[in-house]
Symmetry: T
Subunit: 156 residues, 12 copies
Amino acid sequence: MPNPQLPITNDSILVLHGPNLNLLGAREPHIYGSTTLDDIDQALKEEGAKLNIEVRTLQSNHEGVLIDALHEARSWAKGVIINPGGFTHTSVALRDAVSGIGIPVIECHLSNTDAREEFRRHSYLAPVCKGVIKGFGWRSYLLALQAMSYLMTNAE
Amino acid sequence: MPNPQLPITNDSILVLHGPNLNLLGAREPHIYGSTTLDDIDQALKEEGAKLNIEVRTLQSNHEGVLIDALHEARSWAKGVIINPGGFTHTSVALRDAVSGIGIPVIECHLSNTDAREEFRRHSYLAPVCKGVIKGFGWRSYLLALQAMSYLMTNAE
Amino acid sequence: MPNPQLPITNDSILVLHGPNLNLLGAREPHIYGSTTLDDIDQALKEEGAKLNIEVRTLQSNHEGVLIDALHEARSWAKGVIINPGGFTHTSVALRDAVSGIGIPVIECHLSNTDAREEFRRHSYLAPVCKGVIKGFGWRSYLLALQAMSYLMTNAE
Amino acid sequence: MPNPQLPITNDSILVLHGPNLNLLGAREPHIYGSTTLDDIDQALKEEGAKLNIEVRTLQSNHEGVLIDALHEARSWAKGVIINPGGFTHTSVALRDAVSGIGIPVIECHLSNTDAREEFRRHSYLAPVCKGVIKGFGWRSYLLALQAMSYLMTNAE
Amino acid sequence: MPNPQLPITNDSILVLHGPNLNLLGAREPHIYGSTTLDDIDQALKEEGAKLNIEVRTLQSNHEGVLIDALHEARSWAKGVIINPGGFTHTSVALRDAVSGIGIPVIECHLSNTDAREEFRRHSYLAPVCKGVIKGFGWRSYLLALQAMSYLMTNAE
Amino acid sequence: MPNPQLPITNDSILVLHGPNLNLLGAREPHIYGSTTLDDIDQALKEEGAKLNIEVRTLQSNHEGVLIDALHEARSWAKGVIINPGGFTHTSVALRDAVSGIGIPVIECHLSNTDAREEFRRHSYLAPVCKGVIKGFGWRSYLLALQAMSYLMTNAE
Amino acid sequence: MPNPQLPITNDSILVLHGPNLNLLGAREPHIYGSTTLDDIDQALKEEGAKLNIEVRTLQSNHEGVLIDALHEARSWAKGVIINPGGFTHTSVALRDAVSGIGIPVIECHLSNTDAREEFRRHSYLAPVCKGVIKGFGWRSYLLALQAMSYLMTNAE
Amino acid sequence: MPNPQLPITNDSILVLHGPNLNLLGAREPHIYGSTTLDDIDQALKEEGAKLNIEVRTLQSNHEGVLIDALHEARSWAKGVIINPGGFTHTSVALRDAVSGIGIPVIECHLSNTDAREEFRRHSYLAPVCKGVIKGFGWRSYLLALQAMSYLMTNAE
Amino acid sequence: MPNPQLPITNDSILVLHGPNLNLLGAREPHIYGSTTLDDIDQALKEEGAKLNIEVRTLQSNHEGVLIDALHEARSWAKGVIINPGGFTHTSVALRDAVSGIGIPVIECHLSNTDAREEFRRHSYLAPVCKGVIKGFGWRSYLLALQAMSYLMTNAE
Amino acid sequence: MPNPQLPITNDSILVLHGPNLNLLGAREPHIYGSTTLDDIDQALKEEGAKLNIEVRTLQSNHEGVLIDALHEARSWAKGVIINPGGFTHTSVALRDAVSGIGIPVIECHLSNTDAREEFRRHSYLAPVCKGVIKGFGWRSYLLALQAMSYLMTNAE
Amino acid sequence: MPNPQLPITNDSILVLHGPNLNLLGAREPHIYGSTTLDDIDQALKEEGAKLNIEVRTLQSNHEGVLIDALHEARSWAKGVIINPGGFTHTSVALRDAVSGIGIPVIECHLSNTDAREEFRRHSYLAPVCKGVIKGFGWRSYLLALQAMSYLMTNAE
Amino acid sequence: MPNPQLPITNDSILVLHGPNLNLLGAREPHIYGSTTLDDIDQALKEEGAKLNIEVRTLQSNHEGVLIDALHEARSWAKGVIINPGGFTHTSVALRDAVSGIGIPVIECHLSNTDAREEFRRHSYLAPVCKGVIKGFGWRSYLLALQAMSYLMTNAE
């Protein structure tokens, strides 16, 4: 979990990676590519630096850990980017956490979930998120970071 | 988790709070009010004392922790009151735990789930619980405690 | 129907029993127990007296009579407890009456309807009621009375 | 409603005609024929006499009246034949009355409901009735009477 | 129920108001406005006079009373305007009455039922009515009266 | 298959028993009783004799044999009573045979199929049969024979 | 498309006829009658004149043309009457146009769509229209014009 | 339609705006904001210039025009960004055009369609698009442009 | 659109190609093959000549243009062959045009739509067409032409 | 079953007629016409001779016989035309036979199944057939024969 | 069918192969492998010998033959292993046979039916079988034989 | 979690027990029997020894722990046997883990899930497992071990 002892600026955000995303680079590369999660986290931190946003990241296969992290983020983060993985389609608890923390959340996915199994078409989280970005591989995260930057800097 | 070292009377019950209930008082107050979970636990213990029932409480955002607690309660509790939060609508595992422990369980909710999103109308747990109480804010717990007292003291 | 000639205090409520509840004590006792409706009404009046609430009761197998009684209650009752029986799952007219009278209504059931046939899982009335209590036999009514007392005496 | 003052033998049954059946002979004769309800009642009484069964009949367009009559039949009837008309497809309250009175009930219809609109294919009452006879015009009642005679006189 | 002793002209029609419409002017005015049912009946009689149509009206919360009134109308009315209220979505018995009486029936509603809850989108009566008018507040009735006048005076 | 060499009167009917009915008396007696198929056939022939109807019977577990028999019956039978067993819910081919042969067919069942599994509620054959009788054990056949007698002897 | 060069009064409305309505008088006269679209337009203009409403009309089989016309009407019309024809059941784009233009729209149909194929029971447009009138042949338009007059002249 | 006479570079893309988007800035601003379509097109062209991408734009309320434009884009564009508006949920023809042209297409929306009506949750186009971006107001387009830049410049 | 100035014989038919069929030969050749639409039109005209049928053809991506063409064909064509493309599954307007023009229409498809996505299994047009031919590539058209020849020359 | 002793050429095909097709000419002639199955078989053989295709035919009301014939055809037939009758909508076993034999199969129907009962819209066989032809009476077979000839003689 | 003349030991079982399994080794080898049914039967008999179980086998494409064999097995077999092939998903008659014979039945499949078409996910037989084994190619049978051995030799 | 320090052979497999399986022997013995999980693990290790397979086991009520264990197994196990308990029907995350680890997984259950509640009929994991074994009590695991041995030792 992100270390709360670090000095916190006003521009920190949390990036949450859901279940199985730790397998990235190894798991079903024909769908997800060979980039690893560390590569993504590194790219996000670098891109965040350019946008003046501190990016903290967390991956967990545990729904409860993701919920805890969302709750904790209330005290230090200005926004959250979440790739809920398989929880996207099944977790009302995660949805309630997103709608309960009162900061903007963006849902993103590596693959275009609409082009896969029927059950991946429905997201419990999307209706309580600001927006959704999916289908651009690891660059979905970069786009979500850019989107978060928009949300944090200007109104309409 | 409730400390099992405490001397256990015959009248102990477990009150389980599911995911996001730790946010109570802060999260969506127009739906849930401003009472905190500590307030509720305190009120339950006091009301329990009047009814001669020791009340132990546990909140967790982790489905597994809730299941573990239900299992452990078999050895010391006479009944369980559970507000399963978002797990109400999605967790067969929790349902199986409820039906498997062989002690009466009451489902309760702060809000009237029937008056919210369509997916909140279905509960996996309710069919294996003794009864359901919902819609009375934190007093749903008090009513559940009273109901448990009925279940523990007289038959029909 | 409750006699409107009686002097009316500020703390009167109406308890409505829907179709077939007059059979209580005789009908399917393995589900509903052997307590009669008169027993329940008596218990409610006594418990009401303790809570300073005058309890008037009415049973009918006629949907229209129940609707009429709900309408009439607008002029004298501070709340309504209703066990709609089989109408729970089929009556939009009763739902409209509940939502139209502008006083708090609580739905209650003797049995845990979620543990019975699939069609008993849906209630047309619940979404326009304050809350729902079910599964505690005739004590569901006592709990509903206690819940009404909460609703009548304090805000949150 | 059948007059309870008449001396009651052990072989009385109640025949209930649901909503709109009073129109028989006038309403949609291409579906229901030109026989009137009085003709049917007369035929049933005559046929009943042959079978040593006293037949009492009641028609009502009021669901509550039908439920009341079912309840009352508990004290004097050995069985009930019911043509629930449109209530077949919509009334849980009537179903509960049938399952609650503890005497055998047979559902019958003039028309073959399976050959009409889709919504007429489902009956709330049939699962709690002994059996169903439909599609033989007013003779469906005669067959139901014969069936009731079987139920009353021999076991298997 | 309309008094059948009155001399009956050839141009009489029946206007039936279903359940809860007696609350008009009081119930949920943001949906239904503040006009009372008496206001509407008065307006209909006046408008009817201009169109040379005698308008008789009846309101009931009892499905059976509405069915009885439809049956009775066969002997004196040239048409029926019905606002079935909550019965619209649940009553096959009322549908059968409409299709059985052999005179033209128009369904009308104060609110635009298609813009409300999902279950209000389906009408059991509409398929056996001549037409439907909804969404124009109490003027829906005036338009239905005008429509009935068309039906009564010219063919196509 | 019924022997076509026998002299054929004008009053012959075919009784078809579908799959697994040969097990009668042995199979699941708590549902179907202990009467055997031979007992039933014998009873039908005797009862037929009283009604001046020659009854020929056939049982098969082969859908094709049942269809062939229906086709053949066109040349000699005035009606058919069929208990389609499990084919009731799955066979469009049998339905087409029933609707194609141009003589009246009655569907009957030993058990009340509406009171069993959900999939037994739908019959492909019922909509093209004259009527349906079910739930009276082997006497369902007797009632069907009586019903067929009505169909063969008088119009309405 | 209505010529925008004409002097525009404050009381102009647009009447839009959707796909296939140009066939009126020829197409399926047993459903729609023999009146032509020109007849209807003429009648509307005349009736409009009586009500002090200028009526402009447009028919198109092109969804895009109907949307364009709705957009353009924002600059000159006080209301729109639309018979969306087959687009009623399939066009979200037309629905969005109706909800986007900010002037009252009434949906009307010649036939009673609820009495036809199942798919004609659902309207994408109705929920964003003021009201719906259907089943009165070409007079549905006249009634819609009268309804529009109500909407334009008085509030409740 | 984009003028094909302009000299075409290798880095041109087409941005398609579907039905009602011409109303932007005026239509339902609480959902879509006050930015106009011209503002968006200008911003896209400017941002495109930075990314070395020539951006051509087209808005139409006509499904056929959008399909034609997609076809034509095959000869000059390296990619397409499409906001299909209401066609998203209803147009198989547009889907077939997207899948038939053999160049990458990105679906984008101003609003978060998952947070609106149920029918807006399903997209016919998304499964044949590269990815989807929605919920960020007019900046959804900017993000889509950035995403297209990724698709055009690097593989994984 | 077919030029109406040409001298018209009694044996002309219209062949309508729906959206995206202009891409034939280029679009997804593994499904549709490499034959172009011009090839097909040429083959149809030649084959038509042998059958003494003048074949006129039209392709459009605009639903409205297809509807207009169907309407116009009433004045000169003896039949229509239509490949509605993606409109097959979504267009009630096109269905109404087919059922409204009063000349025989045959639906045909290059691919076997039943072997593709689930949503391609339902056709709005098929129920109002004479017949359907699909799955034989461009030869589906030839077969439809042969079928039309049958329809035009002999009754049964 | 086709006699396998006959000398087999390279151009033989099997035509399978499913259940109830032996009734052709007698059964529901308003749907199927008065041509008999022998007429059709004769016409197919003659037409086949012109196309240099030996046509063998088989009708059975037994699903198993049809499956056996499909299996056997693997050794001598170059293709199969099948009218599966009622099995179309219910037989996975027949589907598996079609997909398992490795030679092209064409599904054909006399009537336009899409224009009949809802359950006739789904075919289990169509997705594993080459194509489908329906609605042209007995000439559907002729067209299927022509289609088979295309399949046997040229690739695309 | 297994020859009943053979001396029967106490440990005989029946292995039933449903439709199309005779094609094994030839049909769709990418799904089912190249082992033939004879290979499987041989392996089962050998393995059975080791387990002291006589294995008799039967394959048929006729549902009725499979039902007959199940019935006959009551007199000599201690258990049945059945691979119902396509009948798995469609045959209530086979289900009734399984539940009616009163000896343990195991369902097995070569392929993992859950990984194929949606309709293969539902089995009518599984709920009345002891257990299910699928996905292990022809070794599914061996495992089923082992499972049967467990069922025959020990209780829990 | 299995201790990774142990020397690892090439033939190790992981057996995962999902939620509530720790209650085995105590929980609902009429469904699951009285064998404990330790008994099962012991039996598996012994049987594994015979098959030259090292069996490591893990039980957890935490979905995340199960996912972690699946991930870890990639480095040392040749296969996985999983009884997902209640997660079977609800966990896409677990499914993704199974499909992501690239080693064969077998799903097994003590009870025959098809014979229980409707919601237990669907498994999210089964489609990505090699096969499924269920209904044989604790011996389901033994059979799965035997199946795994097949998968590990021979191809087809």
